[in-house]
């Protein structure tokens, strides 16, 4: 092996090792937060008892709290976080802009508007609301994609069209809320804030399905997605079918985000922030999808824990991520614009 080749290999090994170290760190943190949610709350359950509950043994005083209350909550928070993080990072990578997250380009507001409509006007509740929200999120994504189509889809145009659509949907939501009777207003508001309150274990099933189906679809495109970061033309020169890749990414990312939104409501900024946070820590090397998914889970778990246990009064997780995410978001815009904009 020539000395230059050897150096090259060493360089690559170092980058790969760093990446996997970070990913393992994220994983450990997520597991820790998961355990924390299970064992420390208003009451403390010893880790040994938590494990026994998880193993299915009846433990007096812990079975209900851990098994019925905390476990569904932690599972849902983790899965929703993975969905938001993965979907958001996929959008940001594809459009080469960290601000192009589903929160900004209308997908979240589309799902929200549909849910509020279902709750306030059609007086529905339960899974049907979620189903409508998923459908609406997908429709809005396709509408934005279609409206920005002119000689192919320019990433820039897609973002701007998304902003327009999002603004319009926001005002629809505002109107529906203003006409809502107080009982459905509360229901709608709770849905719009995003929380894992009242989580049930069977709600995890649709999320698992979404992650299994759309997540693997996304991960199968991970190399093409990476090539897209070099610009549409370079990607095309490298043998990527740009439009087809984009379509796959949009459908699967929206599918995951809408599924999570349907179950937990839009948890503010998780889709937005997971990618950039992961990027800061991993540094530019390899795909961000996996680290972003883990960061998403960490954000939702930590936010929910803070909202339930650490603060004097209880807040839904969406309020916590919203309040903490907003300043970081502003910081992010500053940084993005100063450096020219990639993730």
């Amino acid at each position: 092996m020539s000395p230059t080749l050897e150096r090259l290999v060493r360089h690559r090994t170092r980058r790969t090792r760093r990446r996997w170290t970070v990913i393992c760190g994220f994983l450990a943190l997520a597991v820790f937060l998961f355990g924390l949610t299970l064992s420390v709350g208003q009451s403390v359950v010893a880790p040994r008892d938590v494990l026994r509950v998880l193993a299915g043994e009846p433990v007096p005083g812990a079975s209900f709290v851990v098994g019925q209350l905390r476990l569904p909550r932690a599972v849902l928070a983790t899965l929703a976080g993975v969905c938001f993080g993965l979907g958001g990072a996929a959008f940001q990578t594809m459009l080469r802009n960290p601000l192009a997250s589903p929160d900004i380009i209308g997908i979240t507001s589309g799902a929200g508007a549909a849910a509020v409509f279902a709750i306030v006007v059609l007086q529905m509740s339960g899974p049907i609301v979620s189903l409508l929200a998923v459908g609406a999120g997908l429709c809005v994504a396709l509408a934005v994609y279609g409206l920005s189509f002119r000689n192919g889809v320019g990433g820039t145009r897609l973002i701007l069209v998304g902003i327009g659509v999002s603004t319009m949907l926001q005002s629809v939501i505002a109107y529906l809320l203003s006409t809502a009777p107080s009982w459905s207003l509360q229901e709608a508001m709770r849905w719009l804030t995003g929380s894992v309150n009242g989580a049930q274990l069977q709600q995890a099933l649709p999320l698992l399905l979404a992650i299994g189906l759309f997540g693997s679809l996304l991960l199968s495109r991970v190399r093409d997605l990476e090539a897209l970061r070099l610009g549409d033309e370079t990607a095309s020169a490298l043998g990527v079918q740009v439009n087809r890749t984009r379509m796959t990414v949009i459908v699967s990312a929206v599918g995951m985000i809408a599924a999570a939104t349907a179950i937990t409501g839009p948890i503010a900024f998780v889709a937005f922030l997971s990618g950039p946070i992961a990027a800061r820590i991993v540094r530019a090397s390899g795909s961000l999808l996996l680290p972003a998914a883990l960061v998403g889970a960490i954000l939702v778990l930590a936010g929910d824990y803070a909202g339930q246990v650490l603060l004097p009064s209880r807040y839904p997780v969406g309020v916590i991520t919203g309040a903490l995410g907003a300043p970081y978001l502003l910081l992010l815009i500053v940084r993005v614009n100063r450096t020219g904009g990639s993730l």
Binding site: L8, R96, S220, A227, E233, A237, R283
Partner: protein, 270 residues
Amino acid sequence: MTDHTLVATGLSAGYDGKTILHGLDLAIPTGRITIIVGANACGKSTFLRTLSRLLVPTKGHVLLDGASIHRTPARQLARTLGLLPQAPIAPEGITVADLVSRGRHPHKSLFSRWTRKDDEAIDSALAATKTFDLAERPVDELSGGQRQRVWIAMALAQETDILLLDEPTTFLDIHHQIEVLDLLTDLNRARGTTIVMVLHDLNLAARYADVLVAMTGGQIHAFGPPGEVLTEDMVRTVFGLESRVIADPLSHCPMMLPIGRHRMAGHEAA
């Protein structure tokens, strides 16, 4: 030497329903350097983009080894036909080695591992472009000339037998322009890579081209060795400019001297 052939037949293409190329025929000479010149908006970039599959022709075909490139699987095509666009985008913070390794994309499938052959391709691409010492530096920190060499290295790592370049010398000063053109010539000589590029500078084009293509109005006006193509008549028709063409004392290639209305010693322009 390679024996891939790239041929355009009856090619028409354009944007927004506006046709820019009008039924253009051209066989790219295999293993040579072909340089396309022409006035602004004559369709030379559109032609290159159609050749490289970025643009779907409205009529006609681009045939690689006799098969239409728009029907060839993208990944397979990208192992034979490479393109360096005018303004490629480097993700923030990416290192040179990492960027160059992206050129291996068409050779990888989802589950294939990184192999010795990949590392060797990158190694030789870095060596050919003299960018090895930059390998661990972030691309953002490089100068314009260095950056262009890195992008060429990425295209080299792709190991295609045909390489298309859209104005590879724009934004570079004259020193770096020569450096890039010399590098591409080295490549052509050493690997037999077929090179097709669009250039603005007529004199540099005449010097570095084996075959010069002059385009006007979305069609090919002249095609052949620079000595035959670069004539005063051609410059008049294609660029609408009066000129004098003399032999470049260094390369003996033709060299075009524009005739303006002022500062002409001894005689006024026609």
